[in-house]
Symmetry: C2
Amino acid sequence: MNYKFSARISTLQPSAIREILKATSSPDVIPLAAGNPAPEAFPIEEVRLISQSIFENRPVEALQYGVTEGYEPLRKRVLENVKSKGIGKNFDNILITSGAQQVMDLAVKVFCNEEDTIICETPSFIGSLNCFRSYRLKLRGVEVEADGINVDMLEKVLKEEPNVKIIYTIPNFQNPSGATMSLEKRQRLYSLAQKYNVMILEDNPYGDLRVEGEDLPTIKSMDTDGRVIYAGSFSKILAPGIRVGYAVADSTIIGKMTVGKQTSDVHTPIFNQMLVEEWMAKYDFESHIKKIQNIYRDKLNIMSDLLDSELSDIFTYVKPQGGLFVWCKLPDSVDMMDFCKTSAQNKVAIVPGTAFTVEPNEKSNHVRLNFSTPSNEKIVKGLKILSQVKKQFI
Amino acid sequence: MNYKFSARISTLQPSAIREILKATSSPDVIPLAAGNPAPEAFPIEEVRLISQSIFENRPVEALQYGVTEGYEPLRKRVLENVKSKGIGKNFDNILITSGAQQVMDLAVKVFCNEEDTIICETPSFIGSLNCFRSYRLKLRGVEVEADGINVDMLEKVLKEEPNVKIIYTIPNFQNPSGATMSLEKRQRLYSLAQKYNVMILEDNPYGDLRVEGEDLPTIKSMDTDGRVIYAGSFSKILAPGIRVGYAVADSTIIGKMTVGKQTSDVHTPIFNQMLVEEWMAKYDFESHIKKIQNIYRDKLNIMSDLLDSELSDIFTYVKPQGGLFVWCKLPDSVDMMDFCKTSAQNKVAIVPGTAFTVEPNEKSNHVRLNFSTPSNEKIVKGLKILSQVKKQFI
């Protein structure tokens, strides 16, 4: 039969990246396109022991239905942990989600009607952009500079647009640009949100992956009036396959998000939540973070050294202080899409910058390179291939 | 600050049942309100062994990101399994979801615009009804009779309502009524959906929990034109806490639902999917089902024997042929809400029938009793208490 799909889904395209990943998933392709954490960063032995202990000692709890808010001991532990970083005032509460992606979904579910506006950095994480599109929101892009969102442009859009409900931002090692928002811009962004009375959705999946420089305060830590919904994730510091994330926000908001989550997936799997809780309780969380920072520092350095020595005549980039990605600009003379296709033909998968733009027809001459997924050897091999590929373009 | 929430969430109330469960979660309350599977039905030892083997042999696969469609070996195995029951034509495909609840969410996400109509049995499962409400759909209820939905009334509504997109039904051991739809009504429902060109969302979480009588063909097995979205679940036959369900539908629909799922939670946790797959592969699925059918048959018989001997002067009911619930009607002279409150005060949690009605002001003089959660001893104790409580009402 001929199906008539909803308006929200008819215009939505599958994530270009996930499609690229599928197309280039064969083992002989060098994966500079994905955003997968390095497998060597997974605490495998710890996970094995914890899972054994859970199914030996508390199997029924792990397998039975739980409450939508999340596994209570995990909620407490995460809240303690973020409070030690200045996140979470007395009015705040926590919701455990099925990955941080669900925080974006629930935030717009509870705050936005169709046709409302959400301001996004452009470029930005396609998973979030598509989520907002799926609610039929109007997306307005504000460019990301080397030190974060262009705040003057942000104010201009806030002035122009009557129905802005949320500003969505990834302040640390932004995906895909790698940019980290300066302290001044964080403060200014918060003030602007106050002035124009809009919410802030702060997405911080990479915050712990700093490999250089000093941590900056989260916007949530400046939140005096319950305006910030903070999205955290265990995907990058523990493992993404377990799908455990969380939202920190004012209790009223968490209440509404809980109602929203109830109708989406009832609750996040209990075993997965117990696993995270026991891992945080039993192991040295901070030293694990240091360990993975070391892994990513090495990988980033390997990539950036080669970018400097082999590819500086075709790529311009600002070395990120953390995260998983390097955002490389091609000269105007180079056809970006063509470059990506030729790379793929040569068995190196990279993502075209247009995958991340807020406007569908927005131009981009960037490509995103990921350094977390490939082994160190594959990073070297991949960049050597790109330095061959480039010869066809310059 | 004063929040202005979206229209969809402002009108949505938290599930009355989940709230009752929270209020009556203390261990001295007898839980006849929940819908939890019996803990003794969980294959704990098998789950323990499988989880050990996964984290020993394939830890990286279990912890890394996966594709949105689901873990390929599980998709294949489930499709094989449902095909052996006549579900799934050549045009069909499968999507692994985060519990069956997500199938409802994705089905309306891809098919319904705000203000579209969905026809539901009334009473029906509150989790689904609230999900539909969260999409701002118009819900039209059609009464459930002892042999399933009233098909004449269904046709009347289909004639009246211009924008019906979906008929939502739980044909087997319906929640809360316990009713099983007759074969004739299944065929008639499918024909009506054809005649009025609407989709059918067939929710079958309890299908394997038949304790009496013969299996009837699913509506999906009659689906010649790709009109049925079938929702299956491992919650009741393996464990609900792992949150693994699935949709079987035409490939085009599964494609759209996959795009919808990408923006909701990226994918269902991989470990959880591997667990289900290995369990299906290694263990005798059919004999496990027989085992849990035996558990539930005993529980149902204990409950229904006591209903007959102790409570027949206050409860009228039709004994269900399976599932988890007995739907009991109180005499018109009894105030149903009052009865539920008095029961709760006497430490027996039951659910008022109004929790399941499609229209908010729809009357109900039923209560729902669950026999899967409490131990056999607690069923006896709970019903003895109810037989004391009743004295205040008749």
